[in-house]
Structure formats: C-alpha cells, structure tokens
C-alpha cells in the first residue's frame, strides 16, 4: 500500500490551500475578465455587437444621436471577440474576476452621460 507513506508524508507538508479571500494570487496579465469599454474612443460602428456570441453588447442610441454599446455583464462569455473586432481598440479585457452579485439586472454598464 504505497499510498500510506504518501498520506503520512503529507501530514508534515505545508498546506496547498490558498486562504482565498485573505490571500490572493495574481491573475495572468492577459486574463479575460470583465470587459471595459472606452466610450471616448468608441465610434459606435456596431462591429462588436455583431460578433458577440452572447448578445452581451447592445447598441443604444444616446440622446445626442450617437450609438454606443451597452454591456450586460450577466450575458458576457468573456471570449474577448469584441476586443478583436473593435477597429478603434476601444474595448479591453480587465483582470477583474470577482463578479458575484445579488442581482443580475443591475450589472449593466450604460454608456449614458457620454457624448462623442
């Protein structure tokens, strides 16, 4: 029973556990987390909306008449296709991954208040 030895050895090893909420690991620099849209660079071409596999981006018309994407966090698949599709490099993936929420409907990024 070779595992007996391993089991006993493990008793004297350092824990492998990361005490998560108190200790955090760095996520890789190109981790695909929550999407961030730079509304100042966005020209509202709608390419990202067209390519989004989950309809997480939706084009809305602002009072100024400009079109901008609205971002639904609860639909996003974090595939970063929109980053690739954007001709103006206005979209980027952040490393933010702690995305628990009590209400999915409030997790929407609105392009309001910004006029291009």
């Amino acid at each position: 029973m070779p595992i007996f030895g391993d089991v006993l050895k493990t008793a004297f090893q350092k824990r492998a556990t990361l005490l998560y909420p108190f200790e955090k690991r760095d996520v890789p620099s190109d981790y695909r987390g929550k999407v961030e849209i730079d509304y100042n660079r966005c020209v509202g071409c709608g390419l990202c909306v067209k390519d989004c596999p989950a309809a997480a981006l939706e084009l809305v018309t602002l009072p100024s008449g400009n079109k901008k994407p609205r971002y639904y966090l609860a639909r996003c698949t974090f595939c970063s296709q929109c980053v690739e599709s954007c001709p103006r490099k206005a979209i980027k993936m952040t490393q933010f991954y702690e995305l628990a929420s009590y209400n999915r409907r409030i997790e929407v990024v609105e392009p309001c208040g910004i006029s291009y």
């Binding site: 029973m1 089991v7 006993l8 493990t10 008793a11 090893q13 824990r15 492998a16």
Partner: protein
C-alpha cells in the same frame, strides 16, 4: 441525598452525557481537521479558533432547520430513531472508565452489555433505512446488516481477546478489572497487538467509515440510510454518531491502551486520568483517520468476503492465542 446528586451529576455532566457530547463534537473536529491535513488542505478554519466549533455549528444549524418527514415514511418509527440512537450511544459511554478505573456504570459482565450495544446501533440503522420508505435508505439498510454479519464476530473476538487475561486471572468480565490488569502492562504490547488491529478495522466498519462506508456510500446511494433525514433528526443522528466515534475510540483505548492508567505509575488523580484517557482515545482516532484517508471503499461483497476469509479466522486465532499464551506462561 448528596450522593444521589453527585451520581446524577456524574451521569449528566461529567463524565456522562454532556462531557461525551462535547468530546464527540471535538473528536469530529479532530477527524475532519486531520483528514484535511492528510489531504494537504486546511479543513474547517473560521468557526471558532482553527474551526474548533465547526461540528457545534453544524449541530446548531441543523437543529434550527426545517424538519421534513418524507411522505410514505413510517412516521413514528422514522421520528423516534434519532432519539433512540442518541440514547443508545449516551448509554454506552457510561461504561467507559473516564476518571478512575471505573465508569459511571460498572458491574460484573458490563463488557457483554457493551458488545450488545454495538450491535444495537446497526439494528437502529436498519430500522431507519426501512422506515424511510425510499430506495437509497433501503439499500443502505440492507448493506449495513450484511456488513454487520462480516465484522460482528471479529469485533467481539477482539474485545474478548483483550479481556482474556483478566478473565483468567481475576475471573471477571468487568471493564474495571480489565483496566486494572493493564496497570503495568498494556494489552497492546503483547499478543493483543493483533487484536488491536482487528478492533480498529471492525470499529471502522461499525462507524461506517472508509473503507467500510458501504451503507452510506455517497457516490453510490447518495447518503444511504441517512438520505431522507433532515433538520433536528439529522442533527441528533450526527451527534449520536459522533458520540459513537468517541465511544469506540475510548473503548479501544480502554481495552488495549490501558484506559485511564497513567503512562508512568504514580501520576494519578481524577483530572489527569481523564486527560490520559482522552489522549489515548485521540491516538486511536488518528489511526482511524489515517485508515480512512488511505483507502478506497470496498464493495459489499468484497467486504463480506474479506471479513469471512481473513478477518474472522484471524480474530478467532488471536482469541485462541490470547487465551492460551498467558496460560502457558503461568504453567
């Protein structure tokens, strides 16, 4: 009058019900924590210091939860089993010599009562399974009885083996005299080492722990006979099982490790003997936990096979040896 009060306190508080309830929860914590340690984890951490109150939190939470009796279950039987289980395990611990060589209850032949109690647990499990009127508990109950057929004889044989010397020298089947016999020489140090190993395996089966957690095999029959229990009933059953764990560890320590006997003679006193008893029980518990961590679950047919092919013959052999060897030495 005063004596009655002291006796009552002895039964209810120390070293009776309350002490063993706390000890049972403490043992569960040690078991979980050490199991986690063996798996390179940390285990419960945030309930009290080092998660010490984790089993207590589980117990309180379950007590406060909604209690559901499944439709179609035999209601009176289903509801009374947790109480019976708790009562039985609390009754059993009264025999353990926690402080001093004598338990709260002690009389000639109490060892026999203890072995009978061990069998009663299984009967309760069986009834619990069948009163649930559900498939998984039914299978679990069936398995627990099948399993009992496998480990009952080795368990009794190992217990009797430990008592063999006492029977011959003192003609007594009392736990007290077994403890006293071991004042200079622990049973485990002689031929009883084999008996101790058999006792550990049988205890593991009695407690339904890996590799013998067949009646409540999680991946096969969900939670076995426990599947339909919830809320207070589950809390009581879990407490009963914890106390049973403490009881079997204590019994192992009593029969094989000299119980509350001091490690060095002349180190006596009520408190220290309690501490010694607990420490020895913990040693037994740690061994049980290592067994649990280092094996996979057997199948019921393999378990019965293993028990009858190896465990029973070996246990009878060790019983014979235990009876013969001292006699040879005496002659």
């Amino acid at each position: 009058m005063i004596q009655d009060l002291i006796d009552l306190l002895r039964i209810i508080v120390f070293p009776g019900f309350l002490f063993f309830a706390v000890l049972g929860l403490f043992f569960e914590w040690i078991d979980r924590k050490f199991y986690a340690k063996l798996q390179n984890r940390v285990g419960p951490l945030y309930a009290g210091p080092w998660g010490l109150f984790q089993p207590f939190a589980d117990f309180v939470k379950l007590m406060a939860k909604e209690d559901i009796v499944p439709e179609g279950a035999d209601r009176p039987l289903f509801s009374s089993i947790p109480v019976f289980a708790l009562a039985l395990s609390l009754f059993a611990v009264l025999f353990l010599p926690v402080c001093g060589a004598q338990g709260v209850l002690s009389f000639e032949g109490d060892l026999i009562v203890v072995t009978v109690i061990l069998t009663f647990f299984v009967i309760l499990v069986f009834l619990a399974g069948f009163s649930s009127a559900s498939r998984y508990p039914g299978v679990g109950a069936e398995r627990s009885v099948l399993q009992l057929l496998g480990y009952e004889i080795p368990l009794v044989a190992s217990v009797l083996g430990a008592a063999a010397v006492t029977i011959q020298t003192e003609g007594s089947l009392q736990i007290k005299s077994i403890v006293e016999t071991q004042s200079s020489w622990w049973s485990i140090l002689g031929i009883q080492a084999l008996g101790f190993a058999i006792f550990l395996l049988a205890a593991q089966a009695e407690l339904e722990r890996v590799p013998f957690d067949i009646p409540e095999a999680e991946t096969e029959i969900v939670a076995g006979w426990l599947t339909e229990y919830s809320g207070k009933k589950l809390a009581l059953i879990r407490l009963a099982k914890d106390i049973e764990l403490a009881f079997l560890c204590g019994l192992g320590a009593t029969l094989f490790l000299g119980g509350p006997q001091p490690i060095l003679p002349g180190f006596v006193g009520a408190l220290s003997s309690t501490i010694i008893f607990v420490i020895k029980s913990i040693i037994v518990l740690l061994i049980l936990t290592i067994i649990r961590a280092a094996m996979s679950r057997l199948r019921i047919d393999q378990m019965v096979n293993f028990a009858w092919k190896y465990l029973v013959p070996i246990s009878i052999l060790q019983l014979l040896l235990a009876v013969m060897v001292p006699r040879l030495i005496v002659i």
